[in-house]
Amino acid sequence: MAKYKNHVLVCGGTGCRASQGEEIVQNLNRILEENGLEQEVQVVRTGCFGFCEKGPVVKMVPDNTFYVQVSPKDAEEIVKEHLVKGRQVERLLYIDPETKKQVSESKNMGFYKKQIRIALRNCGFINPENIDEYIARDGYASLGKALTEMKPEEVIKIIIDSGLRGRGGGGFPTGLKWDITRKVESDQKYVVCNADEGDPGAFMDRSILEGDPHSVLEAMAINAYCTGADKGLIYIRAEYPLAIKRLKIAIEQAREYGLLGSDIFGTGFNFDVELRFGAGAFVCGEETSLIHSMEGLRGEPTVKPPFPSESGYKGKPTNVNNVETYANIPVILMKGAEWFSSIGTEKSKGTKVFALAGKVNNVGLIEVPMGTTLREVIFDIGGGIKDGKKFKAVQTGGPSGGCLTDKHLDIPIDYDNLLASGSMMGSGGMIVMDESDCMVSMAKFYLDFTVEESCGKCAPCRIGNKRLYEMLHKITEGKGTEADLDNLRNLSNVIKDTSLCGLGQTSPNPVLSTMENFWDEYIAHVKNDNCPAGQCKALMQYVIDEEKCVGCTLCSRVCPVDAIAGEKKAPHVINPTTCIKCGACYEKCKFGAISIQ
């Protein structure tokens, strides 16, 4: 390090107590100057440490000491004790909850290990368009080991023992699925990678394919070796052009290196991969619809059984797995089943990638071990709610999932807990909402999505979801009745019970879970025509405050439906029935006399 001897990093993330961070920086600089150290020590603001419940955080470099819950007035002590005398300020050190010992080195802090990246291990570290960098990080070693030293049954046993379950949302044990496909006799079998990722708000598959395409190719080859297939297909949605480009490059390079094609590793095992493009249909995330789409047909599902493992693409046994599931396979073979099953909870092993988005400060792609709580994900890694607003709900599982509230924040995330609390793991989309989001409108948004994306083959989903949407629309327009609420519940349950495929069987979840957790909001909409979150325009009233209104008549002139009456210079009144709530008067009024209730 040239000029500066050491640095003080102060967390300046937009989360927790960001403003205090500023004061700390100013105090530190002031005191450093008083002690003539401003040349040797540089104070730097950084992004969020992801440590918000212990913020503001200060990190001393190069000795990596971590001070937590630092207040502006501690600045003096830090400079005097640590920088001048070189003694750590005991009082501010982080106490590790388990070991109860003070920990200063940031690396081995329990908290620091919140995230473990298995599926995303190479994303952001290697150049995805250069196969060498993938090989440099043990790329294709698992495939080599499997092909040359192991029998298919042995590989499958490891996958079963690891406890890996499908990451696409269903959570079906991957090892079991591979075993079933292996046992079916057939002259031709296929392995398929489901990269349709239709869930809105989910982008982990895209990041893996753009950041580490080879891990998926290697895993598909291992899958093919286990199940006895020699052809692989990647069904990728047309909305991901960059991922398609990188996959094509990766496939080309893998073929050149002999890691795809014929006689791989000289073991006589042949396997090659082709791309198949989606064309904008969420339902094609469902296995059988995906297969029909790859066969050039309308993406309509068929009743299971027969499962694709018995008869799938072109009627042949087909093993379909999600991108993230595949990304875990090479590591499991490399580091063994015991290591993998040591991570996660009792029935959900390993890690899950979440796309944290919505009203959260640090929107990001994170990978946390199963069992991490929602609170840690949203408030620590996510940096809390944007603009300091109050947390209201988090939606997981996309249009098939549900909304979870603060009473679920401390539930360890895994397949079964999320299902039990009325939502679903889904592909991992996690949308955070604050008090300004109306839950009835959220349910309506998801139903609008499902109505648009339903394939139309079966009556309950084709017509039922449309009726759910229409009822929710009525409620958000203030025309809903109590009877509608009962109809909503009954119809939702019947749609779940009778729909042909996963889309229809889960599309009512957003309705049922918002009714379960925010019943009072539904009642507010229906009974007293009020939208607590203030999002449903139709339920808002524009009101003129007599004191503030000076009678300048500007609002009455701009009102498109002449709903404002009043003499010049006298306070005006808005007629609530004719008012169409366009907000024109609200924008025009210079005296702030108009408010929304």
């Binding site: 239709g198 708000g201 989910a202 198949r276 904008g280 249909a281 796309a355």
Partner: protein, 158 residues
């Protein structure tokens, strides 16, 4: 039905594509992607040609084209504007951005402006939720779009 004539060069090109997929009906969606790339959209005449080449019925091709939202039978604007309506973008106000676009271009979703310059469509989650709300114009992606920015974006392409 054939009210427009297809340029002969393009017809041969499309036949070549079909041959590349060895005229297999199972490759219909790949062929349709290529065709939409070539003609910009999929008029009835192109669908009839594809049906002929892959020997599947025209009704089947039309069934597939109307099923997938990616395929369009009306020409997209020179600058196709797509507003992401995924959950993350919706929660961050994508609807207001959409209304703003509609107001400026006075076209409904799925329609093209009369001068053929712009068309508006809704996309299902482009996958850039960090930049919500997201708007794409052709290949270019605009992040963190506020209603006020809409005017500026349109002007870039006037």
């Amino acid at each position: 039905m054939a009210n427009i004539k297809l340029p002969a060069a393009k017809v041969d090109e499309l036949k070549e594509v079909c041959k590349k997929f060895d005229n297999d009906g199972g490759e219909l969606i790949n062929v349709l992607h290529a065709a939409q790339e070539m003609f910009g959209y999929l008029p009835a005449e192109v669908q009839e040609l594809v049906a002929e080449e892959l020997n599947v019925s025209v009704a089947h091709v039309y069934g597939v084209v109307t099923f997938y939202s990616f395929f369009s039978m009306i020409p997209k604007g020179q600058h196709p504007i797509s507003i992401c309506m995924g959950t993350a973008c919706y929660v961050r106000g994508a609807e207001k951005v959409l209304d703003e676009f509609k107001k400026h271009l006075n076209v409904k979703v799925g329609e093209t402006t009369d001068d053929g310059k712009f068309s508006i469509s809704c996309l299902r989650c482009v996958g850039a939720c960090g930049l919500a709300p997201v708007v794409t114009v052709g290949e270019r992606v605009y992040g963190r779009v506020a209603p006020e920015d809409v005017k500026g974006i349109i002007e870039e392409y006037l």
